[in-house]
């Protein structure tokens, strides 16, 4: 009830009579495409960085592991806007790394689509790491050891034994990660700014539409909801049940 009532509110208040013409407004498609693209890229980034990190946290014993595990959840605790400011302080033009990137390669992340991906990956990564780490801890490490005794290298054991075992966990983590990235607002607007076609994702478009036209904001929200629920439902059946 509590979870679905606000959704019902959106549906009831939606301007159904003018919906077709509102849906064909040019800005919507660009924002939706950018949202789907950046959320998917952010999920890929999270998979590449997050799965190894989760493996380290679950399998290796090293001093300060608890601290690292706590640090992984920082983006969850941090208000996203603060995360965006923190990203600016590191990757911004005057930032710790950003300044060097700008000087050396002429690369600047803020106000670019790549910046949106960075902001979304930052906020969404914990969802993947926590899910994968949980799956790894739940899986029996003796399978890997058995593979090692049979002559498999660590990488082969991970690829051929561990990964298939934890595949459902990775898939669930990736879905969570993608969903969080798709809805990301605060870090994105703070770090990547807002420019139609380049950094304006659906949540940003919704927020700005709200300043002027409630109906337009509701239409945008419904589009985002419909598309994301559709994709998630399709993937869930395919991956998580498998």
């Amino acid at each position: 009830m509590f979870l679905t009532l606000p959704l019902a509110g959106l549906l009831i208040r939606a301007p159904w009579s003018t919906l077709p013409e509102r849906l064909t407004e040019p800005g919507i498609l660009a924002a939706l495409r950018l949202s789907l693209l950046t959320a998917s890229l952010a999920t890929v980034v999270c998979l590449i960085l997050g799965v190894p990190l989760a493996w380290v946290l679950a399998r290796l014993h090293f001093p300060g592991r608890r601290l690292v595990r706590a640090l992984v959840t920082v983006p969850l605790v941090l208000p996203p806007v603060v995360g965006g400011v923190a990203l600016l302080l590191v990757f911004g033009r005057r930032g710790l790394i950003g300044g060097w990137l700008d000087q050396t390669f002429g690369v600047s992340l803020p106000f670019t689509t790549a910046g949106v991906v960075v902001a979304e990956a930052f906020v969404a990564m914990p969802f993947l790491v926590i899910a994968v780490e949980g799956a790894l801890r739940g899986s029996d490490a003796r399978y890997e050891e058995a593979a090692a005794t049979l002559g498999a290298s660590r990488w082969t054991a991970f690829r051929r034994v561990t990964l298939p075992l934890i595949a459902p966990g990775v898939a669930a983590g990736a879905v969570l990660c993608w969903a969080r990235a798709l809805g990301e607002f605060g870090a994105t607007i703070t770090f990547a700014g807002n420019f139609p076609g380049r950094t304006q994702t659906m949540p940003l478009a919704v927020y700005l539409a709200l300043e002027q036209d409630l109906d337009a904001a509701i239409v945008l929200s419904l589009v985002l909801l419909a598309v994301s629920v559709g994709i998630l439902a399709a993937l869930r059946d395919k991956w998580v049940a498998a």
């Binding site: 600016l88 807002n194 420019f195 539409a209």
Partner: protein, 267 residues
């Protein structure tokens, strides 16, 4: 649980407001009084809730202090935010006494919803300046300077008042300005300058003046064609109408208008 708590809080606000209104009447009927013009006299008491545009923050904080000094029994709460968001809160039934907006359009939304008591009055005006890094290292003097290819410029999004004013000014200047970002409000645009992520932004003169320790404000002639009016009004469902009227009159009295002009507003 949360809903229950919010409900309780609202009930509490209404209850205290109602009590405040009662004691207010009795105090006003007392023979004492003779407060300064524009104040409700020493009788104004209870709670007063003011919703004000974010760009009024610095000046209304000062005005609130002055008003409270004249009305020690009154508890004044000011909630600052984007004008459009505040207007939506009012039309959704948020309990408030006074609304001060940064644009006539947002005020009109409140009037159209039948929430305004009487006619809104414009009490100050604000205009845009170019905010640059401290010392203006890029030597920006005019709007045309902002079109230099390697310069990064932030504007407000057109949906918010400072964005529509920026657009008017840019059109008046006839320059082809390509911003890197359209920020959600004027404070966000300003913070991008403070952080050094953009070289310049179009912000209100009042915001530039409040941040003068970190940034420079460059005046430009075309801003005269894009002046923003700030209307103020008492609300129909005000829990404390007497104090609301007194506050609006107080804001528009001489000494307090000085507070506003000191902050960079025009009359």
């Amino acid at each position: 649980m949360r809903k229950v708590l919010t409900g309780l809080a609202l009930v509490a606000v209404f209850a205290t407001a109602a009590c405040g209104g009662g004691s207010d009447d009795s105090a006003n009927s007392a023979p004492a009084g003779g407060g300064a013009p524009g104040s409700a006299g020493p009788g104004a008491s209870g709670q007063l809730v003011v919703l004000a545009a974010a760009s009024l923050t610095e000046s209304f904080d000062k005005i609130k202090e002055d008003f409270q000094a004249q009305n020690p029994n009154l508890q004044v709460t000011i909630s600052y935010g984007g004008s459009s968001g505040l207007a939506q809160q009012i039309t959704a039934g948020a309990p408030a006494d006074v609304f001060a907006a940064a644009s006539p359009a947002t005020m009109q939304a409140v009037v159209d919803a039948g929430e305004a008591a009487g006619e809104p009055a414009v009490f100050v005006r604000n205009q845009l300046v170019i905010a640059t890094a401290k010392g203006n290292p890029e030597g920006i003097r005019t709007l045309a300077d902002l079109t230099k290819p390697d310069l990064k410029v932030a504007l407000c999004a057109e949906q918010v008042p400072c964005g529509s004013a920026a657009r008017k000014a840019i059109e008046a200047a006839g320059v082809d300005l390509e911003p890197v970002t359209l920020e959600q409000d004027v404070k966000a645009a300003l913070s991008k300058v403070k952080l050094g992520e953009v070289d310049a932004a179009l912000v209100y003169r009042t915001d530039a003046r409040a941040a003068s320790a970190d940034i420079d404000g460059v005046e430009f002639p075309e801003s005269a064609g894009a002046i923003n009016d700030y209307p103020i009004v008492t609300l129909k469902s005000a829990p404390n109408p007497a104090a609301a009227a007194a506050f609006v009159a107080f804001v528009r009295s001489g000494p307090e208008l000085k507070v506003l002009t000191d902050a960079g507003f025009q009359l």
